[in-house]
């Protein structure tokens, strides 16, 4: 009893355990799993990253002509790194950085905006397929 009272008294003069966030920056450990970053120049558009991603945070928009457009939802991503492991050109086309994502604001459209984009991507694939079939049948005619 007396010892614990002594301990309690001593604790009054100990430094605090907590960090004064956000005034003091949090130290992230080395190798923190942060945002996925992408370089269009190196990408070969194999879509592997899109296929393996568990929550579907990477999507490619398929225009009728020209290159696919990469889109990434940093709030949906779970930072698992599967996409980087699946990518045939890791560190060049796709890599995991150590930056931490900030929370989404309403303007970012983390949900609604993404749903629109998801639907657009799906539609673009279908349009592309339809156009391809049409082209083929036109060729064979």
């Amino acid at each position: 009893m007396i010892r614990s009272m002594f301990e309690a008294f001593k604790n009054l003069f100990k430094p605090v355990h907590t960090v004064n966030y956000p005034a003091t920056e949090l130290v992230l450990p080395k190798g923190y799993r942060g945002l996925i970053e992408y370089d269009k120049e190196a990408c070969i558009f194999c879509d592997k990253c899109e296929k393996v991603c568990p929550p579907g945070a990477i999507l490619f928009y398929q225009p009728l002509e020209g290159e696919k457009e990469y889109r990434y939802n940093p709030w949906l991503c779970i930072y698992c790194g599967e996409c980087v492991r699946a990518c045939p050109k890791p560190q060049e086309a796709l890599w995991q950085s150590e930056t931490k994502q900030q929370s989404a604001l309403k303007e970012d459209g983390a949900n609604e905006g993404w749903f629109v984009w998801e639907a657009a991507c799906k539609q673009s694939r279908e349009d592309f397929k339809a156009a391809k079939i049409k082209n083929k049948s036109e060729e064979s005619v």
């Binding site: 450990p29 799993r33 698992c80």
Partner: protein
């Protein structure tokens, strides 16, 4: 005339951190009947695993069942799928997986101890244990790259390797931690006010433990010698210095002691793992699609976690059955409440270490 009164505990209550509701039938202060409602956070994970995600992705989905034992969920699922694929991990992978599971056990047990102290009215001890727990959380963050969702285990291996700096950090933090656990052992044993709330309260007898199929620390505190770590041969636990911790009284005090001594045992095992890490690849390619049925049991911090996975050679699995530790502990839990004082209910509940997001999945 009706002599009993009904008192609810939960689903929102100051001493409860979990969404669970108990309805206690009380006679004066004594609880004579219990009814529990556990389904507040049902998310349909089992359904999602078979309808929305391919088997390679499910490992990341089941990790979201629970924040505290994310690693055991992904481990059990991965083991089950690896059995279906006919793949056996090499020793290095096994050791790294065990390391994370044991670290997870340490921090989960510390959380439980902190809550038991808090619910017994010892707020300062709660703060102290939670602060010490950061030592383990930091380790896990440094190893896996994230604080809560480790996503460390993948089919065919683990995602990250242990560097020499990390090994040094593990040794340093575990050294600090084991001293603190030693002081906690003394505190939980000798502190007079804690013993009033703990000793002889919330007793689960050995017979009850057998009848109600208690598991994990709950069963071991009652003297039932069961631990999935010795009942499965997936991991070489005996070689790394595993000893079973048994108590006999079955009260809150015994459960605390089982947890404290298991932390010490886990610390010793983690040190052994880091010192004797075999060399080898950390990730290997697996081929094929899962077909057949596999069952896996893994000792999660709260007891046995059970997975049954059935696949039919396609990307989508047929069935993923998750049986979580708290789910099976609830019958025993309800039994313990009967006959104890209403005022002790929060401390008893915390000593079970219930995890509702596991239970309702």
């Amino acid at each position: 005339m009706k002599k009993t009164i009904q008192i609810p505990l939960g689903s929102q209550h100051i001493s409860l951190l979990e969404p669970i509701r108990f309805k206690f039938e009380c006679e004066n202060e004594k609880i004579i009947g219990v009814d529990a409602d556990v389904g507040f956070v049902h998310r349909g994970v089992e359904l999602a695993c078979t309808r929305s995600f391919e088997f390679k992705q499910v490992g990341y989905v089941v990790a979201r069942v629970c924040g505290l034992c994310a690693i055991t969920h992904s481990l059990s699922y991965t083991l089950a799928v690896e059995k279906l694929l006919g793949y056996v991990a090499n020793d290095r992978i096994k050791y790294l997986r065990m390391l994370m599971v044991e670290l997870d056990r340490i921090h989960s047990h510390m959380l439980c101890l902190a809550h038991t102290a808090e619910n017994a009215g010892f707020e300062a001890l709660f703060m102290q244990i939670m602060a010490d727990r950061e030592l383990v959380m930091d380790l896990q963050e440094a190893i896996s790259g994230n604080r809560v969702q480790f996503d460390f285990i993948a089919i065919g291996g683990v995602n990250r390797d242990l560097t020499p700096e990390l090994s040094a950090l593990i040794h340093k933090n575990l050294e600090l931690l084991s001293d603190k656990i030693d002081t906690l052992l003394g505190l939980f044993d000798n502190n007079w006010s804690l013993s009033l709330k703990y000793k002889g309260v919330g007793v689960l007898t050995l017979d009850q433990a057998y009848t109600y199929n208690a598991l994990g620390p709950l069963a071991r505190a009652a003297g039932l010698a069961t631990d999935v770590r010795v009942e499965t041969s997936d991991f070489p636990y005996e070689a790394l210095g595993y000893t079973m911790v048994l108590e006999s009284t079955g009260d809150i005090h015994a459960r605390n002691f089982v947890r404290l001594r298991e932390i010490l045992n886990s610390i010793a095992m983690c040190r052994n793992i880091v010192d004797n890490l075999p060399s080898g690849e950390i990730q290997e390619k697996t081929k094929g699609k899962p077909s057949g049925e596999a069952v896996v049991r893994v000792e999660a911090p709260r007891g046995e976690l059970f997975y049954l996975v059935r696949g039919n050679g396609q990307n989508m699995l047929e069935r993923v059955r998750i049986k979580t530790p708290t789910f099976s502990a609830i019958p025993a839990m309800m039994e313990v409440f009967k006959g104890s004082e209403y005022a002790d209910a929060p401390a008893i509940l915390a000593s079970f270490d219930p995890c509702m997001s596991c239970t309702a999945k």
